[in-house]
């Protein structure tokens, strides 16, 4: 988990160097959050199953009393907490830089995108034992959105906050949570 947190921190501090983060209006703030901060979801949530990547460790954990599912849920909770801290901090940072936007709504919107991307990765991880594929699929989804996938993805389009509305975000949020839960439960059955 640690290198992922370091990367997230890196991303955080990198932001002002590679894009404008001050004096942004509703639209540009949304753009930054949707296109940049949503990536935090991939970085921080996807490594859920990493510690037990090794088959032997998996077997060992499975033999312990506590259910591996409970363990994963706890880890997920931790990851979500860390993610919220990052996202909230970033929003606070933007506000300090004189960006004007509704904090609560944008927090909700950004978290939804993050959770969706993270959920995608986790779901894939439940089926496929390939680390690279796990990061790749959410990234692929992100790229598809970037490359104008709005018409194909509809409500599940990642960058829907541009208009200042967060109504479509609910789909992302729910889908994301469903995928996370499904991923954890399926992983239990497939030793991989």
């Amino acid at each position: 988990m640690l290198p992922h947190i370091i990367v997230a921190v890196g991303l955080f501090f990198l932001a002002p160097f590679i894009m404008g983060v001050r004096n942004l209006d509703l639209y540009y703030t949304a753009k930054v959050l949707d296109t940049y901060v949503s990536l935090f979801g991939i970085v921080l949530l996807v490594p859920l199953f990493l510690p037990d990547q090794d088959k032997d460790i998996r077997e060992l954990i499975r033999s312990k009393r506590e259910s591996i599912v409970v363990l994963h849920f706890i880890r997920m909770g931790q990851a979500l907490l860390v993610l919220s801290i990052f996202v909230a901090s970033f929003l606070a940072f933007l506000q300090k830089g004189n960006c004007i936007f509704p904090f609560g709504r944008y927090f909700y919107g950004t978290m939804s995108s993050c959770i969706f991307l993270g959920g995608l990765g986790i779901l894939i991880y439940a089926f496929v034992d390939n680390i690279a594929a796990v990061y790749m699929v959410p990234l692929m989804y992100y790229i598809l959105c970037y490359g104008g996938g709005k018409k194909y993805l509809g409500k599940f389009y990642l960058f829907s906050m541009f208009n200042g509305t967060v109504e479509d975000k609910i789909y992302l949020l729910i889908a994301g949570l469903v995928m996370i839960i499904a991923g954890i439960l399926i992983r239990k059955r497939f030793p991989g």
């Binding site: 680390i131 594929a133 790229i143």
Partner: protein
């Protein structure tokens, strides 16, 4: 030869890898969604509302538009510069703003108070009319202007478009019908249409080629250990260089193969358009951009994937290359045409604009050579580390991987 057989075997193994298929899907979908929206090159018709823009080399135009942009940035106290090749946003202190106003006073013949007032109104109202009355003095020479603006560039920390060698960037004027026709002729005669299409193809494909290949590389580099065949492979007579290089070249080849195949589509479009206008096509245009423009990006991405995975036995390479990729993509997003700098993924998001392309061509070449050399050096480093692991001379990966896994 060992290498050749090994190469084909590696290619075959890549075909069995799930990351490769995700890669293919991504490339295909991205290509279809992007290139589908490329405007066809067609002969401009007289009487159209707009013919797009071009850089004016009229000094008056340049001075006026540079001033205009400066006033805009001043009104928000937010300036975009590229001191190290990547976009950076500059905010000025009171004193620094003072300095700029002082320079401006000499250029526009208004008092400082008038200037400050006008800019303030401009800033709060976003109404351009507030600064309409501010313009360059008639008697100011272009040299004096550039001299003054160079000073402004220094105040901004350098790397801004107010510097004399880049100041032409401000002067975007609408193209006239004649301009459009000239441009069109350029595309047809010099660029052969294929150049124009090839460049936009390279522009789009570069975006995904700067990140997706790293996944294939990481998967391959982790494969031996996970399959528990690493010790046996180490014990074979084959040299480390041959082992690493054949894997590397196999990935490069398999990565570019679908790109080649996809390029047939725009190539056919090109041939069609060219036939319409009775001119020849440079059939190799796409090959040239794939090898000259895109290849170095892929070389670098795969090299990083190999090196970092070999060093850490974990997926760190994905995160690091991810960072490079994000920087490249975001940093370029404010100027997608006419600037390549040291960007891993050089952008050129337009069909045509041959003259603009010519002006950045040298930069592009330098950029691509740079990344190719770096990629090769990184690969050499990978071979060295692989060999040291093979001889049991490095144990640090054990210590590192404990941290990375976790």
């Amino acid at each position: 030869m060992m290498g050749k057989t090994l190469f084909f075997k590696e290619c075959k193994e890549i075909l069995k890898s799930i990351t490769y298929y995700i890669f293919l899907i991504c490339v295909a979908v991205f290509f279809v969604s992007q290139m589908g929206s490329v405007a066809a090159v067609s002969k401009p018709l007289p009487g159209a509302e707009s013919y797009g823009w071009k850089y004016s080399d009229d000094e008056a135009d340049i001075m006026a538009s540079a001033l205009d942009n400066l006033l805009f940035e001043l009104s928000r106290n937010s300036f975009g510069t590229y001191p190290i090749g990547f976009y950076k946003q500059v905010t000025l202190s009171e004193d620094e703003q003072e300095e700029i106003y002082e320079i401006l006073v000499e250029l526009v013949g208004k008092t400082k108070e008038e200037l400050v007032e006008a800019v303030k109104i401009y800033g709060s109202s976003m109404d351009h009319s507030a600064v309409e009355s501010i313009y360059i003095r008639q008697d100011l020479s272009y040299e004096e202007f550039c001299h003054a603006f160079n000073r402004i560039d220094k105040i901004l920390g350098g790397g801004s478009y107010y510097r004399d060698d880049k100041i032409y960037n401000h002067a975007r004027v609408g193209k006239t019908y004649q301009d459009a026709v000239d441009d069109y002729r350029y595309i047809i005669e010099k660029d052969h249409v294929s150049g124009a299409y090839a460049r936009i193809f390279a522009d789009y494909m570069g975006i995904i080629l700067g990140i997706l290949p790293v996944f294939i590389a990481v998967t391959r580099a982790l494969k031996d250990r996970r399959a528990k065949v690493d010790q046996v492979i180490y014990s074979k007579a084959c040299s480390s260089a041959v082992i690493v290089i054949t894997r590397y070249v196999a990935i490069i080849a398999m990565t570019l193969l679908p790109v080649f195949i996809l390029s047939i589509n725009p190539l056919l479009q090109t041939i069609y358009v060219a036939a319409d206008n009775g001119i020849t096509v440079d059939y190799l245009a796409f090959l040239k951009v794939i090898l000259g423009w895109l290849l170095p990006t892929v070389l670098f991405t795969v090299s990083i994937g190999f090196l970092l995975t070999e060093m850490t036995n974990g997926p760190l390479a994905i995160l690091i290359q991810g960072l490079f990729w994000i920087i490249s993509v975001f940093a370029a997003s404010t100027n997608l045409i006419g600037y390549v700098g040291w960007n891993l993924i050089p952008r050129f998001n337009t069909v045509g604009s041959y003259t603009v392309f010519q002006s950045i061509f040298d930069d592009l070449v330098r950029n691509r050579i740079f990344y190719t050399i770096i990629a090769i050096l990184i690969l050499a480093g990978t071979i060295i580390i692989y060999d040291k692991k093979r001889r049991g001379r490095i144990h640090f990966d054990r210590a590192l991987s404990k941290h990375i896994k976790g």
